[in-house]
Symmetry: C2
C-alpha cells in the first residue's frame, strides 16, 4: 500500500456508498464520474470547463499517450499532470483495452500483447511490466493493471482461461510496481511516487469465475478494485447482476470502479449495487454527435423539431450552454458544422453527468438514495424526446 492514496467510506445507504479518496493531486468525492481525456484532453473541453462542471478526476488513455506524444517525452516534462496542465487527480488505464480492440493488428501471448500502431503501423509489445512502467512515467494518481479483455459472449472455458491469465498478469503488474516503489526500478523514471494501482476483476458473466477472480485479485492486494469486461454487449440486467454480485465480494474499505460504463441510468443502478467510480465516453462522444442528455430523457439536437425551439436544452440545467443558448441556436450550430456545437454540447452533457453524481452523493448523505433512484429512473425514461 502507498501512504499517498487512501479511501474513506463516510456513510452508506443500503449498498450505495458515500466516500472520498485522497491522491497526491487532491481529493475525489465518491461516487465519482471520470470524464475521458483520451489524448491528454477531454475532447472539446478546456480544463477550466471540467473544473466548472465539477470534474474532480479525469481519465487518460495509456495506449494513445504512449504512442503520441510518448510516455518518455511526458516523463521528461514532469509527468502527465504537468505536461497537460491539469493539477487534479488523473487515472490511467493500462492500454490493454485499446490494444485488444485492434483486432488483426495484435497478437496475444502469455508474455503480453504485440500490436501495430494505428498511427504508423510500427510494432510494439505491451506487457504487464511495460504497462506498469509506462503508467509510472505518466505519473497518474491511479494506474490500472494490464488485463485480458475478451469478447462477449465467451464460453465458460474461454472466460476461465482468460480470467486466469489476467490474474497472472495482475501479479506481474503488482510486482513491477513494488520494484518501482522500493527504488529497484529507478531507471524507468516514474514521476509520481504516490501512484496507486487498482486490480481488475474479470470472468465474463459467469458468477463462479467472477468470484475466483475477485478472490485472487484481492489476494494480490491493490489500493482499489475495478470490474472489467462489462458493457460489451451483454443484456443490461445481466450486467447489473454481475456488478452487484461482484461488488459484494470486494473489500468494504477500498474503492470499486466499474470500467467503461455507462448511461445516466447505469450510474444510478450501479451506485445502487455498491460502485464508487465510473468512466465512459458516452457523454462526450454523444455530444459531438448531437445527442444530449436531459432530465427528461435524451434529445437529438439535429431534429427539425428544434429549428425554432427557444427553450434551453434542459430547463433544469444551470450549465453555460443552457443558461445562454436555445435549442434552435444549438441546432443551427450543429447543422452548420461549427466546432462550437461540439463544445457547447459536451459542456452540457458533462454537466448533466457530474450533476447527477452530485445528486447521487447528496441522496446517499441524506439516506434518501432509494427514493432518488426511483424518481431519477422514472424521469429519465418518461420521455425519450427523440428516437
Amino acid at each position: 500500500m502507498t501512504d499517498s492514496f487512501s479511501f474513506s467510506l463516510r456513510t452508506t445507504d443500503g449498498p450505495a456508498r458515500l466516500g472520498q479518496f485522497r491522491t497526491p493531486h487532491g481529493i475525489v468525492e465518491t461516487p465519482a464520474f471520470m470524464p475521458v481525456g483520451t489524448q491528454g484532453s477531454v475532447k472539446a473541453m478546456r480544463h477550466e470547463d471540467l473544473e466548472a462542471v465539477g470534474a474532480q478526476i479525469i481519465l487518460g488513455n495509456t495506449y494513445h499517450l504512449y504512442l503520441r506524444p510518448g510516455d518518455q517525452l511526458i516523463a521528461r516534462r514532469g509527468g502527465l499532470h504537468s505536461f497537460i496542465g491539469w493539477p487534479h487527480p488523473i487515472l490511467t488505464d493500462s492500454g490493454g483495452y485499446q490494444v485488444f480492440s485492434l483486432a488483426e493488428r495484435r497478437k496475444i501471448t502469455e508474455q503480453g500483447a504485440e500490436f501495430r500502431s494505428h498511427l504508423d503501423g510500427s510494432l510494439h509489445l505491451l506487457t504487464p511490466e511495460s504497462a506498469t512502467d509506462i503508467q509510472g512515467r505518466l505519473g497518474s494518481d491511479i494506474a490500472m493493471v494490464l488485463d485480458e479483455c475478451i469478447a462477449y459472449p465467451a464460453t465458460h472455458d474461454d472466460a476461465a482461461r482468460s480470467m486466469e491469465r489476467s490474474v497472472r498478469w495482475a501479479q506481474r503488474c503488482r510486482t513491477r510496481l513494488m520494484e518501482i516503489r522500493d527504488g529497484s526500478a529507478a531507471e524507468i523514471g516514474a514521476t509520481n511516487s504516490g501512484q496507486a494501482q487498482f486490480g481488475i476483476v474479470q470472468g465474463g458473466v459467469h458468477p463462479d469465475l467472477r468470484g475466483q477472480s475477485a478472490a485472487a485479485t484481492m489476494d494480490i492486494g491493490f489500493e482499489g478494485y475495478a470490474i472489467g469486461g462489462l458493457s460489451v454487449g451483454e443484456p443490461i440486467d445481466l450486467m447489473y447482476e454481475v456488478v452487484g454480485d461482484t461488488a459484494r465480494q470486494l473489500p468494504e474499505h477500498q474503492p470499486r470502479y466499474l470500467m467503461g460504463t455507462g448511461t445516466p441510468q447505469d450510474l444510478v443502478e450501479c451506485v445502487a449495487r455498491g460502485i464508487d467510480m465510473f468512466d465512459c465516453v458516452l457523454p462526450t462522444r454523444n455530444a459531438r454527435n448531437g445527442q444530449l442528455f436531459t432530465s427528461q430523457g435524451r434529445l437529438n439536437i439535429k431534429n427539425a423539431r428544434y429549428a425554432e425551439d427557444e427553450g434551453p436544452v434542459d430547463p433544469e440545467c444551470r450549465c453555460y450552454t443552457c443558461r445562454t443558448h436555445s435549442r434552435a441556436y444549438l441546432r443551427h450550430l450543429f447543422a452548420a458544422g461549427e466546432m462550437t456545437a461540439g463544445a457547447l454540447n459536451t459542456l452540457h452533457n458533462l454537466s448533466f453527468y457530474l450533476d447527477t453524481m452530485r445528486r447521487i452523493r447528496d441522496a446517499i448523505s441524506l439516506r434518501t438514495f432509494e427514493r432518488f433512484r426511483q424518481e431519477f429512473l422514472r424521469s429519465a425514461s418518461r420521455l425519450s424526446l427523440d428516437s
Copy 2:
C-alpha cells in the same frame, strides 16, 4: 440618421483617433477589432470567451445566415442577437463579398447579383434592396450597403464602372433603409429600429476614383463609412497609401471602417492613417491552422522545435491558453487532431488582437501612439519565430 447610433471622437494623436460609438446593444470603443462570426458563431469560441478577451462587437456574414438558418427564421426568433444569445453589438456585411467570390456560380447585372447557393445549388437574387431587407430582419446594429467587389488588378475603366455602380447601389440601399425606418416597408419585419447603415468607398487603387467614390457616398449620407476593395492582392504599401488618402476625405465625426484587414501590423499602420474599425478572419483561421500571433512574431505550433518547449505561447500574454498551457502541450493537441487545439489557439490569437487594440487606444489616449507604433513594428518584425 438614426438617434440610436452615434459616434464621438474623444481625442486624436496625429491622424490616429480615439473614440466610441453607441448602438442599441451597447458601446464600442474605437479603434476596434471585430472578430468574424460567419454563421452566427466566432469559430471555436463561446460568447463568454469573446467577452473574456474583450471583444465588444462581432461581425456576422449575411450570405451565410441568409442561406442557413435563414433571415426569416432569425427574425421570427427576434433577430440575430436574440437567436445567437449575444447581447452586445453586431455588424453584418451585405453578403456581396461572398457572392462575388462564388465565381462561375453568380451573374452580376445592374439589378443585383444572381447566384447559386454553395449548400444546395438553389438559385437566389441579391439586390441592394434585398441585402438591406435581409440585414433589417437580422437586426444587426450596423448594416453595410451592397457594393460590387472587383478583382485586383483592375483597369481604371473597369474600376470606374464598378465604382459608379456601387454608388448607385448604395443609393438604393439607403432609400430602402429609409422606407424601413419611416414604416413604409413594415412588411419586411425588421428587428432593430436603431440599425445604422454604413456606405462603402470603392475605386481600387486609383486615387481619383477613391475620391469620387468618397464624395458620392458621403453625398448620399450614412452613419459611417467603410473602405472596401483592399487586401485583395495589392502591395502593402499601396494599400496603406490608399487607406490614408481615402480616410483623409471622410467626415471627421463619423466612424471609418477598413473591411477585411488584416495583420497586427496592418491594424497599427491603418490606425496611424485614421481608421477606427477592423475585421479579419486572420486571427481565427490561422489559429485553427496552428499559426499563433505573439509579441515576438508569429509561430507555427506544429513545428518540431516546440515538442518539449515548456514556455507559454507568448510570455507577455495573460490569456487562459498562455496562463495554463505550454507550447509542448499545444503542439501535442494540434498533432493529435484535438478540437481543443483550435479553441485554445483561437483564444490566444483573439486575445493578442484585442489586447493590441487596447494598447493602441491607451497610446492614443496618452498621445504616445507614434512611439507605440515604432516599438510594436520593431518587436513584431524582430523575429518571425518560424518561417
